[in-house]
Symmetry: C2
Subunit: 659 residues, 2 copies
């Protein structure tokens, strides 16, 4: 990997500076608030050229890693969805968050976020107050003054140990509270709108789906999908047929989804429109093993399981996935297989494995039908952030759509060994029964048909002895004879098994992964805190190679064309920067854009057909014949060699450093 | 190209059978009505695995052909858009179609489509009636009976030559009619709802944007974008900065758009949700030449210009684009450059060049601000279909958003040669003027400042001679002296030029291209009309190679893995079909899926490490060592060799044909 040169650079010389990163992302147009010139709309963002390209590269790798490698069936279904679909799926009734209103200003806040922000601020204040204790009054005052500058309104307040640990427990279980409980928390702990100091209303549900109307008559309500999943489920029969009727198989979809968030304020992490990638893997409910589980069995993951969270802790267990499945911590092999595949994908695109954990959903947090659910959480400046969900949704989705539409959504499997059963079976002489009992005949037939094996055997015995009395409804008795009814033991053979498959669903929020990756990749050069670098892996970097001619002189044009064309033929995405500024400034700009390699064309290139190769993180330069350099860069970008190997192949350039 | 083998196959043995194609597309799940198990929703479709893959390949080629080759700046902006943006752009007022209602059933129809369908049916009936004339009565009756079976309600009616040609003219100008004119046409020509025979109402406008509401308060109306363009324009300043302040440059976006069509009934050609690819190319309004125009100057296009249409004809001119621009038929070089690039793209993905033309918009059809507009129309079973629009939108878009927001959206260019101008310039002694004329002073100043060069010179002459009389407002006269006013010749230097760039916009409907491509690719084998083949080019085919083991026996597994892995390393997307059916059936299925090549692994493969290679269109088979075959297929798929060359490299397989 190109980034193994990392060891040679001190990336921690400056602590992470979020304001600097944000300025970089805006300046280089990775993304920006949508409708900025109209004042913007919370929770809507546009990606500029480097952001679009980074996103496209992450998606391209996702497609290779999941769809192509595991032979998934890709689908592309519509965003606009008629209301009955989300009525059946439960979204109309339940896809909601709890909101509270500021009692005076009417500002709308998300209840769980409010509780989290307030309690976290109090805990931080507590730590600070304790740190101040015992300091001379002057230092204390100075610290408080600084604090005021940071727009903290109140002085830090010390909490009792009991209250502090109560807060810790609430925060660890936050996702598990109902609306009523959130309201109680606000009252009990006197939680107010921090922006105004006003109290807040009782929590109310707000449905997060954007509503619209389909067609010119206004009679067909529709919603924008809040996830891509229903589009997979509704096509289940077609997908099963495409897969020649066999399961397990998976469908996959990459697409836009929409959620009308209550008051989104966390940049790309909480947005009203976003790109998702979702897999629906269909398995036999009686056999959730996975064909390739043995390949991943020994991979160690950080697992924050349910019991640990209930105990008020957030320290994950490090476990091999094989052991986690054996111990029942992870419900089944297929779920475990996907947790590892998710882990591998995230690491590959550049997520720091030390800042990645899998957290199990708690009981209330999990959908009632789900068998198990884990979130891949990535740590960033906002805290631990759910970036991928991975749930065993059991047979819920296919069942509800099947019930609502009356269409079977199930698998028919030929049994290798037909199941042969014997059972007592009644045979009626309906004419005789009708003649004898008139209008009661139907009720009598129904009662007999409803008898179990024991009941039928009892009746059979009585008939053999002459007359059998059957009790219908609320105690009315009728005598039956063997002329009216025969009960015989018959053999039944079942050669087809029908079942509704279960669904394991890994669901990726691409924007959240992309933002976390930007944070994990960002650092500043030791010599200058403003010289930011994005150490994106070559795999996802928007541009792989920058071609830098020494000047805009026309004499360089043929060489620029030659080098560009050779990179293009090698399949390496290169860009020329012939802007009218120093080579150093051009490289600094490309460090900010995360471009891993640069090649410089100077007068030596014209004379000797050589060029220099610069590595982004170390700024080290090598030199060699143009074709050799292109070959080395190609192998670096494709991950076939690392920088250490590149250094063995090409001599270090001893000329002027193009910093 | 792999498809040059075409010449050896008769693809016209059977006439195009739309029902057969549609059955194939449904059976192989290229696409299907969305929410099918819920009864479907008109105008919404889901793509299954082969459709998704075909679409992804078309988009991938689009990205290479336009974005990468022409160094465009990709953006990815939101679908959900606050209302003020579309108020400014004019969509809220004008993005509408004319609809009429059935006066009895209330059914809603699009007015122009109604006129088109009815007049076309009458013209078809006319031809038929004339053909029947002179036939014996029996044959006539038989023909009419057959017609009834086809659910034609009325017998064909002969039209007078005058009426027929009137209809032809209306159809040729159809896109040019206003709502009132459409209403008049319905009355004049007694156009009724063909489904019911009822009359229709006066045309009314129906806005095609889906409306929604952003945020929890319901106070922020929003629309789903009906095109991606506004997202480009709103980011113009950021894009210009990203491009170092230079123009021309282009932004590009691939994404979903939404139009609430009135009564969509033409499959993928008229849908309520679709994927577009749009380019916004920003040029200097005073210089619309294109740097690469010389490379395309001699490409010949079919151009159906405005004048030809006004003359009631639909026969395009074949012109070299260089000549078309010189003659002023196409407005400028940049527009001409894009027409050729569009043409090249469409041909590359497999559109039949004989069924492709460029039609110029007529006056009413074109937006009022547009300088010129051409549609790339592809012929398919629905007629000539707009698949790409290419408009010179002048400065409209940037201007309206700039006006609405008060934000400058313009280019500042340092002039190489500052423009030096000399002009007469008044210098006032405001004190003296104020003293003399009191409250009239301001009006006097304004009047002098408003004078042109000639007026100032006249005044200057009079002042030199003592007193100059200036006339203010409605004839009031004031005497000015050289103490109050001096007029001197001064030099001005302008070194920055500011201008709002013009926008050339090529806009692609991916679904329409995809559907037309499927029609152009479809044919049936001579020996059997039901054996459909999709001759998709390798470039866009969902799967490039099918690997077919003779049987599901385990002994083939290592070889399957080896061949799969070698194709993967060569970057060729291959799939294994080890389903439990004959090799012939597996190949037939893949002919329907458009898979261009197949390789068969049999017992000879195990013994001799050879495999056979089958070409889809000819069904011809070659044989060779596994590695040689993989190399040949790789070069075929990448377009480096054609089938004729493959035949020179590998011997023909003389064994049993795997049809």
């Amino acid at each position: 990997m190109a980034t193994t040169a990392v060891a040679e650079v001190d990336k921690t010389a400056h602590p992470f500076d979020k304001a600097n990163l944000e300025a970089l992302l805006s300046r280089r147009f990775f993304y920006a608030p949508a409708f900025e010139i109209y004042g913007g709309v919370a929770g809507l963002y546009d990606y500029g050229p480097p952001g679009s390209s980074l996103q496209a590269n992450i998606i391209s790798e996702w497609r290779k890693h999941f769809i192509i490698r595991d032979h998934m069936l890709e689908v592309d279904t519509t965003v606009m969805t008629p209301a009955p679909v989300f009525e059946a799926s439960g979204h109309v009734a339940r896809f909601a968050d709890w909101m509270v209103k500021d009692t005076k200003t009417g500002e709308v806040l998300r209840a769980d976020h409010l509780v989290k922000n307030v309690l976290e601020a109090r805990l931080a204040g507590n730590l600070e107050a304790r740190a101040l204790d015992g300091q001379p009054e002057v230092a204390k005052a100075a610290a408080l003054t600084k604090k005021k500058k940071d727009e903290q309104k109140n002085a830090p307040v010390k909490l009792s140990d009991e209250v502090a640990s109560q807060y810790e427990v609430i925060l660890a279980k936050l996702d598990d509270y109902s609306g009523t409980e959130l309201g109680e928390l606000c009252r009990t702990h006197e939680i107010e709108n921090p922006a105004t100091g006003n109290g807040v209303s009782e929590p109310q549900q707000f449905n997060l789906m954007f509503a619209s109307s389909i067609g010119p008559t206004g009679q067909h309500p529709g919603y924008l999908r809040p996830e891509t999943a229903q589009g997979h489920f509704l096509n289940f029969n077609r997908l099963l047929e495409f897969n020649n009727g066999r399961i397990p198989f998976a469908s996959a979809q990459i697409g836009r989804s929409f959620r009308n968030e209550i008051s989104p304020r966390a940049g790309l992490l909480r947005v009203r429109e976003f790109t998702m990638a979702e897999i629906e893997h269909y398995v036999d409910p009686e056999d959730k093993r996975h064909e390739h589980f043995h390949e991943v069995r020994n991979v160690v993951l950080s697992l924050l399981d349910r019991d640990t969270q209930y105990a008020g802790s957030t320290v994950p267990k490090k476990l091999r996935i094989g052991d986690a499945v054996n111990k029942g911590i992870v419900a089944n092999e297929t779920l475990g297989y996907f947790l590892v595949r998710i882990y591998e994908f995230l690491i590959k695109v550049g997520i720091n494995p030390m800042r990645l954990r899998f957290r199990q959903h708690m009981a209330n947090e999990m959908a009632h039908y789900a068998a198990d659910c884990w979130d891949a959480e990535i740590h960033n400046s906002y805290g631990w952030t759910e970036c991928v969900g991975c749930a065993d949704r059991a047979a819920y989705d296919l069942s509800v759509h099947s019930t609502r539409t009356g269409q079977a959504l199930l698998v028919r499997q030929a049994l290798k060994e037909p199941i042969v059963t014997e059972k007592e079976t009644p045979e009626f002489n309906k004419k005789a029964i009708g003649k004898t009992f008139g209008k009661d005949a139907a009720a009598i037939l129904k009662t007999v048909e409803g008898l179990d094996e024991v009941g039928l055997l009892k009746l059979k015995g009585e008939l053999a002895q002459g007359t059998a009395v059957i009790t219908v409804g609320e105690g009315q008795e009728f005598p039956l004879t063997s002329e009216m009814l025969k009960i015989e033991r018959k053999t039944f053979k079942q050669s087809i098994r029908e079942f509704v498959p279960n669904v394991i669903e890994p669901s990726f929020g691409i924007g959240r992964i992309l933002y976390s990756l930007l944070e994990h990749s960002y650092w500043a050069r030791k010599e200058d805190v403003d010289r930011g670098v994005l150490s994106l892996p070559s795999l996802v970097a928007p541009t792989k190679v920058l071609i830098v001619p020494l000047s805009a002189k026309e004499e360089f044009d043929p060489l620029i064309r030659e080098v560009s064309s050779k990179f293009r033929k090698a399949g390496i995405f290169a860009r020329v920067d012939d802007s009218n500024t120093s080579i150093g400034k051009r490289y600094a700009r490309n460090d900010e854009l995360g471009t891993p390699f640069g090649v410089t064309l100077d007068f030596a290139s014209l004379q000797n057909k050589t060029m220099t190769l610069r590595e982004r993180d170390t700024m080290m330069q090598l030199i060699g014949p143009i074709d050799d350099v292109i070959k080395v860069v190609t192998e670096l970008v494709e991950g076939d060699i690392d920088w250490a190997e590149a250094r063995r192949r090409l001599p270090v350039y001893e000329g002027v450093q193009a910093v």
